[in-house]
């Protein structure tokens, strides 16, 4: 058992730091803050040019071939600088499905385009009537020659307003168990009959959407895996999503921001950083976070050794999202009255505060974390069934 960094790991860290400090410059930072997708696309292309945009892909498909330690170093250095992670829908989610279940034609066409951020992807899983009970989904795909005709609606579709493609779970058969007869299919968002209806979130932002399908014609070759086996594909994707979802590095970044701000915020002349009650709140979170970091490392180490992630991995999503929300809540408290500031272009010197609106947005958007990717309650069902063996 050891975590000492070897010489080659230290050299790798230097390379990562050099790269990030050079490429994540003021121009890129400003670009990323601008509205729309062009900033993120530009950043992902920089990563791709370096060969670092897909740390979790196999090398053969353009992944990095990094060890668990290298992945950890990368994540730490990235989040330390407040650099957002890549958008997961293409690079993490659908890419893994295509690599695991896709045809050669699909791999050849889509994977290079995903690496180069040519397409913006979104995820069509939830429906107005199917949330946690995902397998009850009703969006229908009927065979018509070489095509499927899709009718129905998907909801909570993040970034659908920007998307070129959507990966969907659709029902191709109604006769058997509800998990059977589900098919995983890729749909071009420019297809006729698709309508995107914006949903304004609790964070006052437009990230979510409803996507309507009215007689949308999709080539049958866009099915990934076998027709009717979409549930198997979806489950594999969720397992992948769970292991990457703890976001420890980003939570550490939020704690860092909190400590920085707590050294400036005062109450009765005393820094909040010196407030006993606030210190205890920070300590309670940090203790759990230190543990979660090693839970994540244990998972990384197991996976790097070619093993299947053990029980420690299944808690990553639950604990990670709980801690995300705990830090977001603490940052809100730190902002006091200013936690209520709506999105604004007002200069902080006029407003009188730096981070209140950011804290509010992160807290509000963060409510989704314990709901998406299988709500935490569903995660607990999964763990009790598959890890604890409870029926």
């Amino acid at each position: 058992m050891d975590i000492a960094l070897a010489a080659e790991d230290l050299a790798f860290r230097d390379e990562v730091c050099n790269f990030l400090d050079t490429e994540f410059d003021a121009e890129m930072q400003a670009h990323l803050k601008s509205k729309g997708t062009t900033g993120m696309v530009a950043w992902q292309r920089k990563l791709h040019a370096k060969g670092w945009v897909a740390p979790n892909w196999p090398e053969a498909h353009g992944g990095t071939g990094w060890t668990a330690t290298q992945k950890y170093i990368w994540e730490s250095e990235r989040s330390l600088r407040g650099i957002p992670d890549v958008v997961p829908f293409g690079l993490v989610m659908v890419a893994n499905v295509i690599m695991g279940f896709g045809s050669d034609e699909q791999k050849e066409y889509f994977l290079p385009r995903i690496l180069n951020s040519d397409d913006w992807w979104c995820q069509g899983y939830s429906e107005p009537g199917s949330g946690s009970d995902l397998a009850s989904l009703k969006t229908k795909a009927e065979r018509d020659g070489d095509d499927f005709i899709i009718n129905g609606a998907k909801i909570w579709t993040t970034y659908a307003q920007h998307a070129d493609w959507i990966f969907c779970l659709v029902r191709t058969d109604n006769s058997g168990k509800k998990q059977e007869g589900i098919t995983f299919i890729l749909v071009d968002m420019k297809s006729e009959g698709i309508k995107v209806n914006p949903i304004i979130g609790i964070d006052n932002e437009h990230n979510l959407n409803e996507v309507e399908f009215n007689n949308v014609r999709v080539p049958a070759k866009n099915v990934v895996g076998e027709v009717g086996k979409g549930w198997t594909v979806a489950k594999a994707l969720l397992a992948h999503e769970r292991t990457g979802i703890a976001g420890v590095a980003d939570i550490k970044r939020t704690m860092h921001l909190i400590k920085e701000a707590a050294a400036k915020e005062t109450n009765g002349g005393q820094r909040m950083l010196d407030d006993a009650g606030f210190q205890q709140r920070m300590a309670d979170i940090e203790v759990e976070l230190m543990a979660l970091e090693f839970t994540e490392l244990r998972t990384l180490a197991t996976m790097a050794a070619g093993g299947f992630p053990g029980p420690e991995s299944s808690l990553l999503k639950i604990k990670g999202t709980e801690l995300q929300q705990a830090t977001q809540e603490l940052r809100m408290e730190l902002a006091a009255y200013y936690q209520g500031v709506l999105p604004t272009d007002m200069d902080p010197s006029v407003l009188g505060h730096e981070f209140g609106s950011d804290a509010r947005r992160a807290f509000m958007y963060g409510r989704a974390a314990t709901i998406y990717g299988g709500s935490n309650e569903v995660q607990k069902n999964i763990i009790s069934k598959y890890v604890l063996g409870l029926e």
Partner: protein, 379 residues
């Protein structure tokens, strides 16, 4: 980066697990606890023969030269079996102090017999008023013509009933709360002027309040340098906290496994109670509490291996987390065992009581949270 145990560590683990399974079933343990000494001398000899008592000591002192991870493996397994024999007070505390503070003569004369299982030891450091503050020490050792005269009282001395030798923390100079002026002394438990009041604790430990009334000590009783004992004591406590955390992790895993098994077999309303979602989600919570504790223990062990002092902040955090998570784990274990959970007959309550004593040993969660805050947010 790797979190695997070595083959040698795995062998030690298996060896202790086999002992617990074959020779330490619940009825056997009950009989040992109820016996005259509250421990089994035969078992202690077995521990010596199997080499467990030698693990943390340097090879030069006749030990195995094990790492803190080796010690952790032993403690975790002893925790799983709820082994009551005084490994922690004798090997970790007493042996640790002699090994770190003793000169060659002291190490030779004492460690060999500790490793051989002939000497049981204890560390007398708590006073009525001291709570977790080691510097709060009124017991005094005044210089005499040919050594020291020891006066004072130590309380809740673990293994105080059976220990042959004691290491006593006493003041050789300064005032009651001074960090400096503290020294360690080797004291024979039967020396003239040593008197003991014995009592058992809820976790079956046999402890004692020990009074020192003009106990005459030779100059060679001084262990380490006079006046600067706290440095070495803190080093030993660093090991001891990791040992206790490892024991706690062993116990928490066992409680979770026993509870899970029980909910799969116990039927109410015509079904196994483990089929109820209200219980399932709580068992996921206790599983997470266990895994998180284990992860933080791993972090502390790995940091210690690089540089022991660098692990201090994590060790404070670990004691905080073990305190919090063990309360969840033993609370749920008792609750889910229903009426049986609150009986003396079932082992569940005994595991719980050991966890409670671990939490109360060498600083509880609140104490270590304050230390963590001091180290992390100090202006």
């Amino acid at each position: 980066m790797n979190f695997d145990y070595t083959e040698e560590q795995q062998m030690v683990r298996d060896s202790i697990a086999r002992f617990v399974q074959d020779d330490y079933d619940w009825d056997t343990r009950r009989a040992i606890v109820a016996g005259a000494e509250g421990m089994s001398r035969d078992n202690w000899q077995t521990f010596a023969e199997l080499g467990w008592l030698s693990i943390p000591f340097a090879e030069a002192d006749g030990g195995f030269g094990g790492s803190v991870i080796d010690l952790s493996v032993v403690m975790e397994e002893l925790g799983k079996g709820l082994v009551v024999e005084p490994f922690f007070p004798t090997v970790v505390l007493f042996g640790g102090l002699v090994s770190r503070a003793g000169d060659e003569a002291q190490r030779t004369s004492i460690l060999e017999s500790v490793i051989g299982g002939e000497t049981l030891g204890a560390f007398a450091y708590v006073e009525r008023q001291s709570r977790y503050a080691l510097n709060d020490c009124k017991t005094s050792a005044a210089s005499s013509d040919d050594g020291y005269t020891l006066n004072g009282e130590k309380v809740v001395v673990f293994n105080g009933e059976n220990a042959d030798k004691l290491v006593v923390l006493a003041r050789t100079s300064g005032e009651q709360f001074d960090e400096h002026g503290l020294s360690l002394f080797l004291v024979d438990a039967n020396a003239q002027g040593v008197s003991k009041v014995l009592y058992p604790m809820m976790d079956a430990q046999r402890v004692a309040n020990i009074t020192f009334d003009n106990v005459q000590l030779g100059a060679d009783a001084l262990l380490g340098d006079a006046g600067s004992a706290l440095d070495i004591v803190n080093e030993v406590i660093r090991d001891a906290l990791l040992a206790l955390a490892s024991e706690a992790v062993g116990i928490m895993g066992t409680l979770n496994a026993k509870t899970l098994e029980y909910t799969k077999t116990r039927e109410q309303f015509g079904v196994a109670i483990g089929s109820f979602q209200a219980l399932q989600h709580r068992m996921v919570d206790t599983m997470m509490a266990f895994e998180q504790s284990k992860s933080l223990l791993f972090k502390a062990l790995c940091e210690y291996e690089i540089d022991p002092a660098s692990a201090d902040t994590t060790i404070h955090a670990l004691k905080v987390l073990i305190d919090r998570n063990s309360k969840l784990v033993y609370g749920e274990a008792i609750q889910m065992h229903g009426g049986m959970g609150i009986t003396d007959e079932l082992d569940i309550g005994h595991y719980a009581k050991r966890l409670m004593m671990i939490n109360a040993t060498l600083g509880d969660g609140s104490f270590h949270r304050s230390k963590f805050i001091e180290q992390t947010y100090a202006a």
